[in-house]
């Protein structure tokens, strides 16, 4: 880094400087501080159900492997042979007994330990000096997070209130477990990665970016695009950069979020009431799943799970998969079609979000570099736990993202 980046000046309470989306040195600094030094979401344990199952993911420029070992333990390993740096897995998922490098035949166990070196006669080092690089791993209700370095913030402190958001996702299932097995759509954006989490908890854009969808079809989103004082949804800043659009106050009947009714989804409703009791089940069925971003790269997108992957200063990839519910397999077909309707390059919603983000990426280079972020500053409220709530069209959620981003980038966190 040739010059120190003044994040205090670039990110203020009511505005942010456009260079946070466009400057290469800021992108490099983010990789270092957010993606290589802090907790990031990797995947869900339902993606690797059996010993030897693995998936590969990209964190920053690093390909990594999440694998379930013979002892059922989940490891997150850098996808790189410790010998000459070749990639050990080049498939997105699979099952292996060990990782064998195609270059010179070095063999690593599922836990990353170097087990065998071909033609060992000429090799003098102890095997355990060249194990695969492992990340620090922790998980909450099957959501696996990892950190490249010894984390400076404990996993519990990092998640903070996000545990409540994950609880709400899991409690959509009568068994309390989600199952990610439908495959991942990956959508390329020619836009900085931060526009994705920002946009996903921006309640202000719905009536504009998505007006073609609102015009074309009746959906639950119709309840969130009326006059300002008729919109009952709220945005929330849960702290630690975790943010939400809470639609629950705007829903008018149970299962609005599923585009269904108590009668049409009777099996699911009965199983939920049996699992949680009628009162709690009915609240879950009314309020629906969270629409919340967990800093920096996970989005609990109602009945979808979404990952944000930065791929450059001006490019990113959004991963999405429907959130299947264990014990409610009868919903799978509906959830697949709902996911395709909302998320991905051909979807009614995200296709337009991508074009709008890409237009912003281009226009941010023009003229006055500042972006205003003041909406709702005078009417947001803070509860005893420090959670900030405001009108759905307010920027309280985005301010929460940026406030935390600034503290991490300044090294305060």
């Amino acid at each position: 880094m040739t010059k120190k980046i003044d994040y205090k000046a670039l990110i203020q309470a009511d505005k942010i400087h456009g260079s946070v989306y466009t400057a290469d040195e800021i992108y490099e600094d983010e990789l270092e501080k957010l993606f290589y030094s802090s907790w990031v979401f990797i995947g869900h344990d339902s993606e690797i159900k059996n010993a030897g199952d693995y998936i590969t993911r990209e964190i920053g420029r690093s390909s990594i492997i999440m694998v379930r070992g013979k002892d059922n333990d989940i490891k997150v390993l850098v996808n790189r042979c410790s010998h000459r740096g070749n990639m050990l897995c080049n498939e997105s998922k699979g099952n292996k007994r060990n990782f064998t490098c195609p270059y010179h035949g070095w063999v690593f166990g599922l836990n990353g330990d170097l087990l065998d070196v071909s033609y060992p006669g000429g090799f003098d080092k102890p095997l355990d000096s060249l194990n695969m690089q492992g990340l620090v791993v922790d998980s909450y209700r099957g959501f696996v997070f990892a950190c490249f370095k010894e984390p400076t913030v404990s996993f519990d402190d990092y998640l903070g209130n996000a545990k409540k958001l994950i609880d709400r996702s899991c409690e959509m299932s009568p068994t309390g477990k989600i199952d990610l097995k439908a495959g991942w759509i990956r959508q390329h954006f020619d836009a900085n990665w931060k526009m994705l989490p920002e946009n996903d908890t921006d309640g202000y854009h719905v009536n504009y970016v998505h007006q073609s969808f609102v015009m074309a079809i009746d959906s639950q989103y119709g309840e969130f695009v009326g006059a300002e004082d008729s919109i009952k949804g709220v945005v929330k800043d849960w702290g630690n950069g975790h943010t939400e659009i809470d639609f629950s106050a705007g829903y008018v009947k149970p299962l609005d979020w599923l585009g269904s009714t108590l009668e049409k989804s009777k099996t699911y409703v009965d199983n939920m009431r049996a699992a949680y009791g009628e009162e709690k089940a009915d609240k879950i069925l009314f309020d629906g799943p969270p629409h919340a971003c967990i800093f920096p790269n996970l989005f609990l997108g109602e009945m979808n799970i979404v990952i944000f992957q930065p791929t450059g200063t001006t490019s990113s990839v959004q991963w999405s998969t429907p959130m299947f519910l264990e014990g409610a397999e009868e919903l799978d077909f509906k959830l697949l079609r709902q996911s395709e309707g909302a998320l991905g390059p051909a979807a009614f919603l995200l296709a337009d979000d991508a074009s709008i983000a890409e237009r912003a990426q281009k226009a941010l280079l023009a003229g006055d570099p500042w972006c205003d972020l003041s909406r709702g500053l005078s009417r947001e409220t803070k509860d005893d736990d420090g959670v900030i709530t405001s009108h759905m069209t307010d920027e309280a959620s985005n301010r929460g993202f940026w406030h935390h981003y600034r503290s991490v980038m300044l090294g305060d966190n």
Binding site: A182, R186, D190, S212, M215
Partner: protein, 163 residues
């Protein structure tokens, strides 16, 4: 399953060429009119995917196809405002006739897109397309169009035009 006569193959190809032109030129209503009531318009991530178990880029029945067209026609579908420049080449046709009289046509396609909604970007789409068609009047109707992209399981950009 039977192969088709030269004459029928020629008719089927002419229909697909017409369908391709309507899609290329974003003639939304004319294109929608080609579809049968039991329509399935499908872009899976990979060949062999089961749409009841696996997520697809799109998997439209007739109702959702109509919604898609209505959305494009609003003029506010920003991912197609302005519409992309599109000119596809469809080739390597293989024709079969089913026992129920429907036709299956498989072909390769090569589709250059000039995307002008945000960044101006020249893109290439390619893959295998499978049609299920039947006769309607003096032409055909589409029961299914399945498009398997060569890179469907990789990150792909906006796909809001008619593929």
């Amino acid at each position: 399953m039977a192969t088709v006569s030269h004459e029928v193959a020629h008719e089927l190809e002419a229909f697909i060429v017409q369908e391709a032109r309507l899609a290329d030129e974003s003639k939304y209503q004319d294109w929608e009119d080609l579809w049968a009531d039991d329509a399935v318009y499908w872009v899976p991530l990979r060949e062999g995917d089961d749409p009841t178990k696996t997520v697809s880029h799109l998997y439209d029945n007739r109702t959702r196809l109509a919604t898609r067209i209505r959305q494009l026609k609003t003029g506010y579908r920003y991912s197609q405002v302005p519409i992309s420049g599109l000119r596809r080449v469809v080739s390597n046709y293989e024709y079969t006739e089913q026992e129920d009289g429907r036709y299956t046509v498989e072909a390769n396609f090569y589709l250059p897109e000039y995307s002008i909604q945000s960044i101006h970007d020249f893109r290439i789409w390619s893959g295998r397309v499978t049609y299920q068609l039947s006769r309607r009047g003096d032409s055909f109707q589409i029961h299914m169009k399945k498009i398997v992209l060569v890179n469907g399981a990789e990150p792909i950009p906006t796909l809001a035009f008619l593929i």
